[in-house]
Subunit: 596 residues, 2 copies
């Protein structure tokens, strides 16, 4: 019952983002509309035919830890072989290293489909691509030859090893150390926790990117360096050598996302663990944050994909399941109506549609910023896009994680008791999605990142850039009668949000604890304003297409209705949040631990 | 890590509800404070020593369907034997039938502890008690002797069989039929779906209470009758006779609540299924609603108990886990602080505390109304209490189901990655709790019940009674400076809620589809106002005790802080909901199925 809404993907990519315009840039010259649609067709086919069929099975039959190794369902490797053959590992990378230079917005659209079909199996290549990006950016040519090329080929997989058992959100407290050896390599000692894909039996090799401290370096995050730690040595000619001393100590048994192994790794405990410094010493955290930012947008998109899978499944059910009658037609001898006829079921569907398609719009908007940054030559424009991407990243991670999880809750509700059973995919998707507010920086961490760091960057230039872009769309929207109330509402909410931001910035500079106490509320409030903008953008395009006599009126009217839903049911709640924020409420600060 | 907050139970029962006052009524003369506390001690001990230890195991090793029978972990039967020996099956029933005439508020407090420890094992006796209540109320003396007495003794268990595969929320569409036999009994034919405890291997017999239609009766719900259908015939002297034709066709495999079997039953398919009419023909639904109302309050309490279990577990973790530093003390060489020191973690704890203790207050308030109804002799007072209980029932079911599930989400978040693993109880509790917005009438059904039926009952007398009680507490609260702003806020929210209620009542009478379109939003809004009242009541008592120099100041200050949290973070959101409701928004109605 899981399906892909290609009409929406097409609308978002071609009509809202306008990805095709990138083909005028030399890097993306290959990607005309026909090519893009062909890529999407291939991805959809592989997702539905190879990823989807084993999703439920993999959840039930999760990878096992046997004699220090992972045993897993062979369907994962088989599906990833098809993915590899189709060239998706290298999709976004440079031609020089075997990549296809696919625009990020298109690549992300394919990732969305793979995740919707099977988020666990998708985890392995996505982690690989993230790790490969880091080597592509900061590696030497020799490192690229040895590690990047086989990752792009899909022969080696990758991971990122940040957390430790005693240090999850607090990276300044990691204790893994890297001691210099005489040959210029390092020997690593420590334990890494929550490492997704940390071991598996699919790829020829695993390239771990590990945060560790070189003894004698600065304390805290300023003393963190980044290392390439392969599971097996890579020989001169590219062959697989000796086993390196990074060993699997155990698998974490999770609520969901069960098909992606999540591991505890020991480094240098049983045998020497060789690592190769990536880039310069002590710059590991800033390097890692490049990947982390991509990973955060990726988490948001994964949450969105799960939201979409649940939405499509519950929509199909709601159209078919007869139950009950309208409040004004209770005659028991009349036929029952399909439940999509009930107002409350439509509300649950609209809430999902608004969350999923709003999130997808934001994820693609961020991907488009990445594309723009890759080709933009004007320094001022680059800087603005960069600040905007920095500002939107915590929102793109957190908002879908929160509200597409909520969407999955609604999807279960539509199926009632059936939704609560393991005979339907909804409960699995909901369990999978519960991870997203946790990994790659918890929801609370995103709030601190947004309010404590991002909104103040470059004297608030990111917020200014955002406000400028929103107001440009607001002024366009005033050209359509049906949108002018939305435009006015968004302008008001934006103005109030900017005022609240200023107030909190002043408060945080005087008293950081008080100013940041409600950073998560700020994050949710800010996110709602951003998603309202995403809906106004979609409604604008839909209105233009309707005015131009487009044929798909049902689809376009659905966009207008979902926009209306978001502005009526969702956006107004931010007013109470801003009032709380403006009051600098200190309830949480003044609550004492022993009062609980 | 799951523990019971006895201090809170004691505060709520003795200080807020004042259960002890019931001992002046002959029915409850045995229940002085010492006896009540003794009962609570016994329940806590059994819950922690016998229910809790197998909760995680039972989730992993769920009951199995083998050769038409259920195979289950023997720990369930062992725990329930202890429960039975302690007399908890019969706690609330009349002395005449072997019960202990325990006040409902006390019984509910014990149920809260059993559910917090192990909601699945608790399911069996709670279903039995519900079914037994129906026989106690509507059964003949002969039926009571044959079925009720062994249920009170805990030898027979009970179920309620309402839903069918094609009729979950819509009982008017059930098709199970009961054909009169010559001996005055009936023969039942049909299939019942989602029957909790529908089979097990613990009790000597199972007494199913089954909704079915006698051929020739009125269409729809007016033609539904209620039947006693034992799994085994009960012989004259009470012995167990032949197997009756109610057979287990399969078990549903659920997301959570896995230890309580949930079954598909076939009636009269393989062999004759004998049923005994309970009460009069065609009155089955109104009888069932008596049990359903108790069941709904019970669902709310179960959700609350799961919320409490998660809250206590995450609180214990937050006190012990060191991670990170304050925003104004980032020196990496300083020690990390326990995460309870972080404002956002305290917010997640306060949100849980507010949801859990607010829900518990409401559940106990409803139980106290039940007690009052049992002993009240003044007809006007009785009627008021009855209307109030009717009005509050959908809230007592739905609010905890929604917001204690949310609380469990927060509990997972506090543990981060650990919370997402099966090594900790949080993810299980969250899965268990996801059932509560679905069973015994979905969230949407509760909204229709509240707005479409309850608020209009007796010309709105229930709402008037509620408003009167709230305003009485508001005027008391004005006597405490720290509470007067809360009192004022609650009075305003109440007045606006009453106005919105009137507006919707008029709209619904003119256009039922439009007036009821946002019934669920109304339910959530109304629920928040009721829970705010529950917090004002607790804060009032806490203030009085602090003024009187009570020793447990930390506990009482915690109550004031949680009240403050609810009024600052939660109640204000209802304003936007009322604005939506007052606007008679028709977004969901005008959305067309083909636009999705």
């Amino acid at each position: 019952m899981i399906s892909i809404d290609r009409a929406d993907l097409s609308f978002q990519l071609h009509d809202v983002i306008g990805t095709e315009r990138l083909r005028f840039m030399p890097r993306y010259a290959d990607y005309d509309r026909e090519t893009i649609d062909g890529v999407l067709d291939t991805a959809e086919r592989i997702a539905i035919e190879h990823f989807l069929p084993h999703a439920a099975l993999l959840d039930r039959n999760e990878p096992k830890f046997v004699d220090g190794e992972v045993e897993m369902d062979p369907a994962v490797g088989a599906a990833l072989a098809v993915y590899r053959e189709a060239g998706f590992f290298g999709a976004g990378f440079d031609h020089e290293w075997g990549g296809a230079q696919m625009p990020e917005s298109v690549r992300v659209a394919t990732a969305f489909m793979f995740s919707a079909a099977n988020v666990s199996t998708s985890g392995y290549p996505f982690l690989t691509i993230g790790a490969a990006n880091l080597i592509a950016t900061f590696g030497t040519d020799e490192q690229k030859q040895r590690f990047l090329r086989p990752m792009i080929e899909g022969r080696f997989f990758g991971t990122m090893c940040l957390s430790e058992p005693q240090a999850g959100s607090s990276l300044s407290d990691i204790t893994t150390r890297a001691e210099p050896a005489e040959d210029g390599t390092y020997r690593l000692f420590g334990r890494k926790m929550w490492i997704s894909g940390g071991d598996q039996e699919i790829s020829e090799n695993i390239v771990h990117l590990v945060l560790a401290k070189i003894p004698g370096g600065p304390a805290g995050v300023k003393g963190i360096s980044l290392f390439i730690v392969p599971k097996h040595e890579v020989l001169e000619g590219g062959g697989i050598g000796e086993r390196n001393g990074v060993t699997l100590a155990g698998l974490n048994h999770k609520m969901g996302y069960r098909g992606t192994t999540n591991t505890l790794l020991h480094l240098g405990e049983d045998s020497p663990c060789v690592g190769y410094l990536l880039g310069e010493p002590h710059k590991g955290l800033s390097y890692m944050f490049q990947m982390m930012n991509e990973a955060r947008i990726g988490v948001g998109l994964g949450a969105t994909a799960l939201g979409a899978a649940g939405y499509q499944a519950s929509l199909a059910y709601a159209r078919e399941r007869p139950q009950g009658r309208q409040p004004d037609g209770k005659d028991p001898s009349s036929a029952q109506v399909p439940i999509i006829e009930h107002a409350d079921i439509r509300r649950l569907l609209l809430a999902q549609k608004a969350a999923v398609e709003g999130s997808l719009a934001l994820g693609l908007y961020c991907a488009d910023l990445v594309d723009t940054l890759r080709v933009e030559t004007d320094e001022t424009a680059r800087r603005e896009n960069e600040l905007l991407l920095d500002l939107l990243t915590p929102v793109a991670k957190s908002w879908p994680s929160e509200f597409c999880l909520e969407a999955n809750k609604h999807a279960i509700q539509i199926l009632g008791g059936y939704g609560y059973t393991r005979d339907f995919p909804l409960e699995r998707i909901y369990r999978d999605n519960r991870l997203n507010p946790i990994h790659e920086g918890t929801h609370g961490i995103q709030g601190l990142d947004l309010l404590g760091r991002k909104v103040g960057q470059a004297n608030g230039a990111g917020v200014k850039a955002l406000a400028g872009r929103i107001m440009a769309d607001v002024s366009q929207a005033h050209g359509f009668e049906a949108l002018s109330l939305h435009a006015e509402a968004l302008a008001n909410h934006l103005a109030e949000t900017v005022a609240t931001t200023r107030k909190l910035a002043v408060a945080a500079s005087e008293n950081p604890r008080l100013g940041l106490a409600n950073a998560t509320i700020y994050l949710d409030m800010f996110g709602h304003v951003v998603i309202a903008w995403m809906w106004l953008r979609q409604a604008l395009v839909a209105s233009r297409k309707l005015e131009a006599g487009a044929a798909d009126t049902a689809f376009l009217n659905g966009k207008l209705a979902a926009c209306r839903y978001f502005f009526a049911y969702e956006l107004p709640r931010t007013k109470a949040q801003r009032e709380l924020l403006n009051s600098l409420d200190d309830t949480t600060l003044s609550m004492r631990p022993d009062w609980f």
